[in-house]
């Protein structure tokens, strides 16, 4: 048993973690060689030129030559920072590599780099422990799959026993008799536009038009840096667009979404991709988290909020969403990822939101909770609520959305309507496609 991470590293164990593991305000090269700068020092001076040069060579080697080793790490996006971590592991050259849910942060480019790395480990007779909930990925990468559930090892699968169905069964602990994605293939939604984005420019995207209808599940998909996450934030008023505007036509044709508080007041809700930092308060209780957007509704004379009304609201939501907890006073730090996500949903269900913007709603969540969330989305759609679903996971998009907008390099490159024939390949073409294919 290693004493700590440094001890593990010295004995040939490397790890790429799920969370951010790089230091923002130093250069990429320094991050690649964290803890190893000694090797470049002479008389106490570090030859930064040599460090940068060597780091760039490593980045080039793993196929990430577009990352400049001399640049400040904080200027890179989340994905590139993960790639820097991969480069760091390459330097350490461990015998055992642990990859913890890393691919959730990575789009195609990063995944390819990581898969190459894993392949190289395999070729050199070294071992990789790959932790993931992405079943497709597990099938393509792993030679043995061990399924854990509720903190226990359930079973290991090998060879052709590794199938999505087998894994899913073991993960949930019962046959998934109830359905997973939507079973209908009709593209159905009302005529009324409930959220209207016109000519929005912000960050990496320009002049995007988008209309969300009553009872519609609208998908936004693309690679992680295509601008869809930022678009989600603009739609909810968190970020102000440089040009264009987002309006709620049902309220008034000039009702512009200018701030999150305006959005919440008029029945909108938002779930961030970065749940722990942006969508929940970890140190607060379930009750305090759930009541957050409902405080205005709960408040009576002089802003008085009665304990009973709070408790009623929280308990209702805990029951509806079957949040596993002792009581509503339990803190979020003591909940699993799936349960935390349920708390986020109950925040918005509790304040009766009609328009939900969900950025990676099922990221880092086990299959059981995923199924519950998909079912919830279907019920909400049936109630006439409108949902914008932002995700990189195409099966989920094809499985749930009425319409899908594909974004690439800050523009919408294609629109698909729900149909049984739609395949991932159709969409991927527009996510990473060349200029010719965009023309069609």
């Amino acid at each position: 048993m290693p004493k700590n991470m440094v001890d593990a590293q010295n004995h040939g164990v490397g790890m790429i973690v799920q969370e951010q593991g790089t230091i923002g305000n130093i250069s990429v090269a320094s991050n690649v060689f964290t803890g190893r700068l000694e090797e470049f020092s002479k008389f106490g001076f570090i030859n930064m030129k040599a460090v940068t040069k060597r780091a760039q060579e490593i980045l080039n080697e793993i196929g990430a030559g577009d990352i400049n080793a001399a640049s400040l790490t904080a200027t890179l996006n989340f994905e590139d920072r993960k790639i820097v971590e991969i480069a760091r592991v390459m330097v350490a050259d461990p015998d055992i590599l642990i990859v913890d849910e890393t691919t959730t942060a990575l789009a195609m480019k990063g995944r390819k780099i990581l898969y190459n790395l894993i392949e190289r480990f395999r070729a050199n007779n070294k071992a990789v422990i790959f932790i993931s909930h992405d079943l497709d990925e597990l099938m393509s990468v792993c030679s043995i799959v061990t399924v854990l559930r509720d903190g226990r090892i359930i079973q290991s699968l090998e060879g052709d026993k590794i199938t999505q169905n087998n894994m899913r069964k073991l993960m949930v602990g019962r046959e998934l008799s109830e359905h997973y994605f939507r079973e209908d293939y009709e593209c159905t939604y009302g005529d009324e536009v409930v959220l209207d984005g016109k000519q929005i420019t912000y960050g990496s995207f320009t002049n995007v038009d988008l209309q969300l209808h009553k009872g519609e599940i609208l998908g936004l998909c693309g690679l992680s840096d295509c601008g869809m996450h930022e678009l989600g934030k603009v739609l909810f008023g968190i970020e102000k667009p440089i040009t264009g505007r987002v309006t709620l036509p049902q309220l008034d044709k000039d009702a512009e979404v200018i701030s999150p508080s305006f959005a919440v007041k008029h029945g909108m809700g938002y779930l961030s991709k970065d749940r722990d930092r942006e969508s929940v308060i970890l140190n607060a209780s379930i009750l305090e988290n759930i009541e957050m957007p409902s405080l205005n509704r709960l408040a009576g004379l002089l802003g008085y909020i009665s304990s009973n009304s709070e408790k009623k609201l929280a308990q209702e939501q805990i029951d509806i969403l079957k949040i596993k907890c002792r009581d509503s006073k339990q803190r979020l730090t003591e909940l699993s990822g799936g349960n935390k996500q349920k708390v986020v949903f109950s925040k918005w269900l509790g304040c009766k939101s009609d328009i939900l913007i969900l950025d990676c709603a099922t990221r880092g969540i086990d299959v059981g909770v995923k199924a519950a969330i998909y079912q919830l989305l279907e019920e909400m759609k049936a109630e006439g609520k409108s949902i914008v679903l932002i995700s990189e996971e195409l099966p989920e998009m094809i499985g749930m959305c009425d319409r899908m907008l594909v974004m690439k390099d800050g523009a919408i490159t294609a629109e698909f309507r729900r149909s049984a024939e739609l395949t991932e390949a159709d969409i991927i073409k527009y996510m990473i496609g060349s200029v010719e294919s965009n023309a069609s």
Binding site: Q20, G21, D276, V280, G303, R326
Partner: protein, 334 residues
């Protein structure tokens, strides 16, 4: 097999909950014990003088201003803010008050309003300024502190150094009944606002995570402005009473107030980083502890400068023990 498995999971849940309960208990019970311990120890050290009738009246007088400012500061600390300029702002308010009366012959009630306004302006610059300019409240409050100190000195010098407060006019501020009524009313009202209304809850939520709070429809600026408004009013009121109690104003008036508040909060178990665990109760316990401590040590014959050393050491130890590091864990590098 499945039944057995469920039992195991329940145990783990239970374990987590027990751990959290233990942590909560430490946070809730320890300050009480600290207060009792302080009183018992100092009662022995002062041969019972600490709890004599006359000294208890003294104690109420001494904790009066700290308690008023403390409950005001609770709102600011709850949302994750701080104000390091309270002492000089309180001193400046006293100069403004006495100046309006002695130099410009204004009635007392105008002076009270001016004193409160002075403090509101100072706290507002710290609160709204740091939020709008995206600066650390500590930095902004240092600037305000410097401004207030400068104005206090200039005002004090222009009125001839030590200003003696005319007691025939301001004596009523020393009425113990008036003080007790104001203190009780303040405690009840601030408890109600802090624990039972939207404003108090929002402040704590912002302290827990400002980004999440904003994305959940809470307007941080509104909460910050109101919190600093409450603090400003409390400091202003405290300034009026402090002036009458001391009987004179010097360039050092109000000094040390902000530090006393911070130690009181730490002693009472009020989380310095704000958030859901913030309670008005903690402020009250903390104020009582610090007052008994200062008063008792003085009676026991400990030199004033040593009392400050003791306070400083206590502060560091308590903050180190009680600081909630769960938020830090997420950003710590490998």
């Amino acid at each position: 097999m499945p039944a057995e498995k469920v039992a195991v999971i329940e145990d783990i849940d239970e374990l987590l909950i027990k751990k959290a309960q233990r942590k909560d208990m430490i946070r809730n019970v320890l300050p009480f014990l600290g207060l009792v311990f302080t009183i018992v120890l100092l009662t022995i050290a002062t041969h019972g003088l600490l709890l004599s009738g006359q000294n208890l009246v003294n104690i109420i007088n001494q904790c009066f201003t700290t308690a008023l400012v403390g409950v005001g500061a609770a709102f600011v600390y709850a949302y994750g803010g701080m104000d390091f300029s309270l002492g000089p702002a309180c001193g400046l308010a006293q100069i403004v008050f006495i100046g309006s009366f002695m130099r410009f012959d204004m009635p007392v009630w105008v002076g009270i309003i001016l004193a409160i306004l002075t403090c509101i302006i100072a706290t507002m610059i710290v609160g709204a300024g740091s939020h709008l300019l995206h600066l650390q409240p500590f930095i902004v409050s240092l600037c305000v502190r410097s401004i207030c100190t400068g104005l206090l000195e200039a005002g004090n010098n222009s009125m001839g150094g030590k200003i003696v407060v005319p007691m025939d006019t301001f004596g009523f501020f020393n009425n113990n009944l008036l003080k007790t009524i104001i203190l009780l009313a303040t405690l009840v009202i601030s408890w109600f606002i802090f624990e039972k209304t939207k404003l108090g809850k929002e402040a704590k939520l912002i302290g827990g995570n400002r980004v999440t709070a904003r994305q959940s429809g809470i307007r941080p600026l509104r909460v910050i402005v109101l919190s600093h408004l409450i603090l400003g009013i409390m400091v202003g009121v405290a300034a009026c009473f402090m002036m009458a109690r001391n009987g004179m104003i010097t360039s050092g008036s109000g000094g040390g107030l902000e530090f006393n508040i911070m130690i009181a909060m730490a002693l009472g178990g009020f989380p310095m980083e704000g958030g859901a665990a913030a309670k008005i109760r903690s402020v009250i316990i903390g104020v009582l502890t610090i007052t008994f401590l200062t008063n008792g040590l003085t009676i026991a014959g400990v030199d004033n400068s040593y009392i400050n050393v003791i306070k400083g050491v206590l502060f560091v130890v308590i903050v180190a023990l009680s600081y909630d590091r769960t938020n830090l864990k997420q950003v710590v590098f490998m």
